[in-house]
Symmetry: none
DNA sequence: GATGAATGAGTATTCATTCAT
DNA sequence: CATGAATGAATACTCATTCAT
């Protein structure tokens, strides 16, 4: 999807040494996240970012060698935040776990509702954040898989990773579509999402073939 | 994609009357869908579309007054196809319904795996397709809501629309992330997705407050 | 010397089909040669070329994918012209040969006096025109070497290539410095240059060690 | 390059008075010459010079009011060095003179092979160094002209200046093309260049019209 | 109708230069 | 004095759109 570009670079051009320049970097990253979130990858231009940040275009390029390195820095920050939030979530029952998880993810998306999706789906990357084996996704899924295994009362097994993906992607879909509609704060939506995830985590028949399960329940 | 004739959209510059014109429009829409799916909104240029379609850029503008009208026509076609497919899905049990639904949606995404997401998330729109009240979304959700009400054994009520959204968006998330990873054909993923939706549709406690449900189950 | 850039491309973007576009390409090449000659590589901007050519910047890029391909096209043209002119030069005596050679080279430089040097010394190249083994230089030197061998009354030998370089580079130096001063038409300069080359070609002692020759003549 | 103190050019922002300041100016000029030689005028940026010199860009601008004054200072130093070297050359026979001249010029180019050409051909100048009447060129040619007159056994006359130019420019061409190919140390090239210049200086027919000379020799 | 040449506003990026610390 | 953060005009290149043939 999206533009595939030969990765020209990725790191920051220089480490800001003085307090003033650290502040400049902050303000640029903030402006970049805002624009990415509000206007998507196609509306993300370095000039717009510099304008919104209130700095000159030259200042932006003093710290970020190119557009990609800027979006990479924004992504790194955002995903680190997500991971931190997510690692704090763990609980004794599926519903309590689901509840905390949903609230955590929703709050992680509240500041810049469109950011997460744009970073993962639209914006190209010089790093391997979109690679399924990237550190980020691995850590993310491992956390979910561990919870799944715990609730199922047995040691983790490969199937748990599939379950982890289902949970992660389903939540992703619901939250990002809610964000799109500006309905991210709707409590009934949160409640239903918690129910969806809670039910899935509680179900004991996870090892049965689906057709069997389907047949049995359908009977 | 289907081979139906594009219904002369209001945005279209002129209704193609002769067979040759209709064929030209077809081939342009097909090429546009391909590029949108493969390269995303950022890689979608009118010249590339004309090239791939094998027509001159002038011909493209003879049928579509601008880029937006082209993408709108592609979207209209795609969403019509989705609706058609979806309307054919109905069944007596939650699991059978979920199963057919998942298969239908996956097959609707198979031809142009990236198209659906690009059309809904990336590509801007001059119409109101992304508006929650658009004809498309209304029809879409109504169908889901009707199924939910049916399985819950009572007449449809407003809450069913929330449930419909949850189902629609969760499926969306799982399928589009699978498409991103090229794993759309993975049978275990399909099975688990069916289980997720099936469980949700089967659950009887949908009218209880979530906290109550959580408390009861967690006990 | 000069900018070393990773060669992004080199060929023309598309072959002009209609008469109008062939004329556009001509006019762009002409304007490019003018600016390269007058302002050097550092003053050679694509916008200036388009302006001088009286076409839009977009038209320039319709035919030349980037700046380098434009300069390559100008170089190819110019060197082809030089080769053609030079191949027509041959004569029975060293002085007659030198005379024709000098006149030919001077006339080849008259239209755009600075062009030759800029193309060879300043402007980067995606091709291998600056490589000593490039077709151009090989042909060029071979022609000189053949003349040297002929005047020395023996079959060509490797040393003739050194002599060819001396002749070529000395003429280059005199002509390009004259061009710099706007004195390319000065007849006394032409006469002296012919004398310089003529004497060198006439000298029979080319195989003696220089120190020996020096000693003998100095005595 | 020499280690003489740069004579406080009129263009220089302030005369460096303290030892530290003088050292800073030295190091900047050295870095500038290096970059000019290695990367040409197009690669010569004030920030790169400051970086290579290990000083801040602000310090560079403390001593040189702008880029042109820096390149002028570099040029002044280099040409002064060239003149010094050249004035030391004089000899009793044409071949001995040519031999010393060639060796002197080659050694003057060895440290920064590209520098001379870049300074004379590429780099713009705020002064009149490229003007044919500049002090430098006048002195330079006068020296050659004196030698020419001496070898021709008569008092200097205006024609000797033409001969001086021929010698100067021919040597220039051969040496700078050798530098371009990295062949500046090739002994056979040196030998042939000496022969070229030596023959020209030795020739007695310099006062005959060329056409006459040509005709006679060709007969 | 169809073609493709031409247009020019817009976008990423560089670099000489200034000035607050 | 030295530093390096900030500035913004200039430059290479793209792409939606028009219009003469």
């Amino acid at each position: 999807m999206s533009t595939r570009i030969a990765r020209p670079s990725s790191a920051m051009r220089k480490a800001p040494k003085q307090a003033r320049s650290r502040a400049t970097v902050e303000i640029i990253l903030e402006a970049g996240a805002r624009i990415l979130s509000d206007e998507g990858w196609a509306g993300f231009t370095t000039n717009k970012v510099a304008d919104l940040a209130g700095v000159s275009i030259g200042s932006l390029y003093q710290y970020f060698p190119d557009k990609l390195s800027l979006v990479d820095a924004i992504r790194r920050r955002h995903l680190d935040d997500c991971l931190t939030v997510m690692k704090s979530v763990s609980d004794a029952t599926p519903y309590a776990f689901a509840s905390k998880l949903v609230r955590a993810m929703i709050s992680a998306h509240s500041g810049f509702p469109g950011l997460h999706r744009v970073l993962l789906d639209e914006a190209p990357s010089s790093d391997d954040y979109r690679d399924p084996h990237s550190d980020f996704e691995v850590e993310y899924l491992a956390h979910y898989a561990a919870a799944v295994a715990a609730f199922r009362g047995r040691p983790p097994c490969p199937e748990d990773l599939t379950a982890a993906r289902i949970i992660s992607d389903a939540m992703d879909g619901v939250i990002h579509n809610a964000a799109r509609r500006g309905a991210i704060g709707d409590p009934s939506l949160q409640a239903e999402l918690i129910r969806l995830i809670g039910l899935y985590l509680s179900d004991a028949d996870q090892n049965d073939g689906v057709d069997l399960a389907t047949a049995r329940r359908a009977s």
